[in-house]
Symmetry: C4
Subunit: 343 residues, 4 copies
């Protein structure tokens, strides 16, 4: 289904917008490696589970119908006029959390997301202001991205001299006069972000909010351990969907080592390459408590707005329930106990 949906989205979007969403960094080795790594993971089903599956779970303190949350995605209005509003509505309908992106194209007060994602702007006052707005908008967790000290070169965007379409802005930054029109996304981003963000900065953030913090972009077990010591509540194992370091380890390949390092002391989400219900169970079996999903929702949004995005989440849940039934898993916990064999 996803392949056909992606094709439909490609047909509908301007080429440069499609390339921005579908593409990855550099020669896109990591983009491809993420999928290849998933496809090498085979599952060893269990039998006679004695029940029909229920994938409901709780991540970062949020209850949800399945172990899937919407990944933070910048500039959703590029794909459909309703942008974040469409996707958050789809997430509500499906009963899964929506993570608003700091570079979202609708203001957090309009979106009222479950979780809010932060980068590290030079201006820490801006950052703190966003944290306060997220708290006041009812967000129950922060997803703090740490894999973008600089924005990686993305050859497609360079070739396309990609700039944001008219009318699409980083809406959360507008009131503060910090969103710019014109210029490439890369230039904008690199001007805004602090390339020298440090563990001390995480300490600072930790001291400024009581919201749970999920650190997004952790791939090395040494960082996983340190993140917990620094007060992170959860980890998102991610290579930014192949959009940052081209040459990075596939996120799914890094997952078991991260789980081994942190044990059950923290929840772990897996991001980068999830395309269907089978991938969700693969991630659970390899140590994740849940996953983030991004691009498929962009395709659904592009093709059908809220309904399109909701269809993606509904299909994902159907697939997930089928895979859980066929692997004899009644619950997410059962899925985490599945064995895998790498082919």
């Amino acid at each position: 289904v996803t392949d056909e949906l992606a094709e439909a989205a490609k047909a509908r979007l301007p080429r440069a917008v499609w390339d921005f969403a579908a593409g990855g960094a550099g020669a896109e080795h990591t983009l491809a490696a993420n999928r290849a790594a998933f496809d090498r993971v085979t599952l060893v089903p269990r039998i006679l589970a004695g029940t029909v599956p229920d994938p409901a779970t709780r991540l970062l303190g949020t209850g949800m119908t399945m172990p899937v949350a919407v990944a933070p995605i910048a500039y959703l209005r590029m794909y459909h006029p309703d942008g974040d509003l469409a996707v958050v509505a789809a997430a509500r309908r499906a009963g899964v959390p929506f993570t608003a992106a700091m570079l979202g194209s609708h203001a957090i007060e309009d979106v009222r997301p479950d979780w809010f994602q932060l980068y590290w702007p030079h201006d820490r006052g801006l950052m703190l202001d966003l944290v306060r707005r997220a708290e006041q908008a009812g967000c129950s967790a922060l997803v703090v991205t740490v894999d973008m000290p600089v924005m990686a070169r993305r050859d497609r965007d360079v070739r396309n001299r990609f700039t944001l379409p008219d009318g699409v802005t980083a809406a959360n930054l507008v009131p503060a006069g910090r969103a710019r029109d014109g210029g490439t996304v890369a230039a904008h981003t690199n001007a805004l972000f602090d390339p020298a963000v440090s563990w001390a900065d995480l300490d600072w953030l930790r001291s400024r909010t009581d919201l749970p913090i999920a650190l997004k972009g952790v791939l090395d077990p040494r960082d996983a351990t340190r993140a917990l010591a620094a007060g992170a509540d959860a980890l998102v194992v991610s290579n930014h969907g192949g959009r940052q370091l081209d040459g990075a380890v596939p996120a799914i390949a890094a997952l078991p080592g991260i789980r081994e390092a942190v044990g059950e002391r923290a929840q772990i989400l897996l991001d980068s390459g999830v395309r269907g219900g089978l991938d969700v169970v693969r991630a659970l079996a390899l140590g994740a408590d849940g996953v983030l999903i991004g691009r498929p929702l962009v395709w659904g949004l592009s093709v059908g707005g809220t309904d399109g995005a909701a269809h993606v989440l509904g299909s994902l849940r159907d697939e997930l329930c089928e895979v859980m039934a066929l692997t004899g898993c009644a619950t997410v916990r059962d899925a985490r106990a599945l064995s895998t064999v790498r082919t």
Copy 2:
């Protein structure tokens, strides 16, 4: 030979029927992985065996000319008017057991199979009734399938809106008025089967019959051990020929771990991907006592009825004897002692 036979069958069958038989679940990754896993297994021949091979053996208490039994195959009349009757005749001619499928298209009383396969219908009275009929029809073992709590989505069938051809029914269920015409096979199957079948159900079945039970669809060594404790007499390591969980471990890759778990306490049959005599020896070398064969018999049946199916079994035996001769194996026991090297 099998490739040519498959092509001949494909040319002869309606496309949707071919797709139903040849296809697998989802994107057919597991269907392909089953074959790829076989092809990576190379055998280390022995020399100076001092005899010509004799592959005769005994499985589930049944003597046979080679360690091969006919897998349970639903709705054989789709492929040839003589359906199960043709294949059971071919099996008799070849001296191998025929397993009648619960969803067979001829009644068990007409087929009089060696072994009888059961799914888990919601209606346990129906199930018990089938067990009794199998006993009375002279079956000497039950093959109880546990990898279909639900029927997996098979994209080809969905695309083809596949329904049973006119006149093909689940004949064993007709007297009880439980076979339906119309509707897709998937809908029929999912309505009939209990998705919440449990180990307690196996205990119940075990207490209701003295026939040996082979549990079909075991892939995890933990389940293998538990199955023996629950009174299963034999195990069939199978991923349902790639027709259930797409993403499942190849059966041949799961086999060594199952053998290691059960030792020689139970016989193990290997199902899913066997295409020729070489594959039989590969399976034996990796720990199987014998194999089930399905699709090649469907091709033989489609092309030539009883003679076609018998030709498949005859060729298989010729190939098996050649491989045993070339690997210095006088008996099945010798084949089980062969070393393998994965390339």
Copy 3:
């Protein structure tokens, strides 16, 4: 060079003769796997060897200019009127041993080979007669093939209904009236050979001759050990060039285990897949004392008779010396101490 030579030979030979020589058993998986296994072996060169290489060595008591002997090849007259006589002359010119095949197309008394190869005919009197003739013709060793209890089905030959060309016979068997005209090679071979040859037969042979015996077709370390105990003087690790068990382990992959099993108690030759000087050093580094070479000589013979075959051996020696120089090996012993890395 070999690829071009093979193309030239293919252009010159009748298609069925080319197929007989170039082809392998079954679907030719092993034929291809032999080459793939070589190509995965990379060498770790040594430096500052302090000398130019000299590949001279001694195998089965025979001195030679390089660790290469001519493999036994049946029916060489199919490729050139001078057949065995051309190739033995080329071997003399190159200073390497020629192994006459039992099914050679010239009589052993005319060829006067260094070594003589034996299969196991039903008629042991015939076999003993051949041993005596080999001794009297000055052979210094016997190469006893044990991987052909039956001749494997070779699909190309079946398709071509391959029979020996007019005038080509198993010349060594003619005086005894045992060579047949007509019929396929496979039928002829299977009628002639004893499919039930045993270790007791090897004991019998060992007791009937003082010539060193190299057992050809050993792939399992258990057989290697037993062969030495039975009085074999050397082992030829071989899968018959992919012409017998399709699905057999590549010979080069089996080699290290054989060497580990026998230590330095016996010489080991590697056969099956050697195409150039690099392959010779790969085999040495993985434990061989030398190699047998077959098909490249057939191509050389086909294209240019004695000169063609001598050119192949000359090129092989040039390549071998280059590889030894570039890996810092002064001698065969140095090459055996090279490390390899599998890619």
Copy 4:
């Protein structure tokens, strides 16, 4: 970028010159394997580094802006009239060391390189003379190549009957009357070089100069250890860019074992297959202190002289800084502590 640059250079150079530079030995298995081995290495990024990267380092006592030096490249005037002079100027501009090749096409006194590369000519007086000239020209280290006792057959050059273009000579050898016009490069080289160079020769060289010696072409850990004992100050792990032993281990695959053998007792440079900043970090993570880069500079030189070569080095530094930022590395030392995962 490099692929496009290579295409531009190919379009501009005579085919035989392109082939000489781009090609490798034999069937070019090692040439391809070098790249394939790099591409299998994925990096595990670190987070929250707290600084922007500075790749400055010091190799062989020479300070440089990044851990990259120009590899010795023979006959640079084939690619551009300014030859070595253009590339040394580019290296100066980029702040990295230039290694002049013994077979350079400009005299060392004109180039005044940072480091000087030596082969082992038969005439040790010539060699000593070159060492003195290097010392007097201000070179601070010698790079002594030990992987060319003979020059490997390079099929492209043989096919092209490659000879040096008019006016291109081994300028360092001209005053001594030792450079020859005409004849193939291979013939010239093999006549000039001593194929029997030994560890004793290294002792001799070590006793004749106080310059640091980096031994280039080390792939076996046993040689690495011995080289240090013989007074080598650094090692260059290299398979000569796939131009010597076709079938050699990829240099990047040999690197970890070399580092393990020598610990931190010596600096290790990696040569063979480096194409971009990602490759530099891969090499560092696997144990190198720095890398040599060759062919990309030839393409840059061919297309744009000094500016072209400088552009290559500038791009390389930009890529390196981006990869370091994205892997959370402030310094070369941090990069050496990165984990890698082989896919």
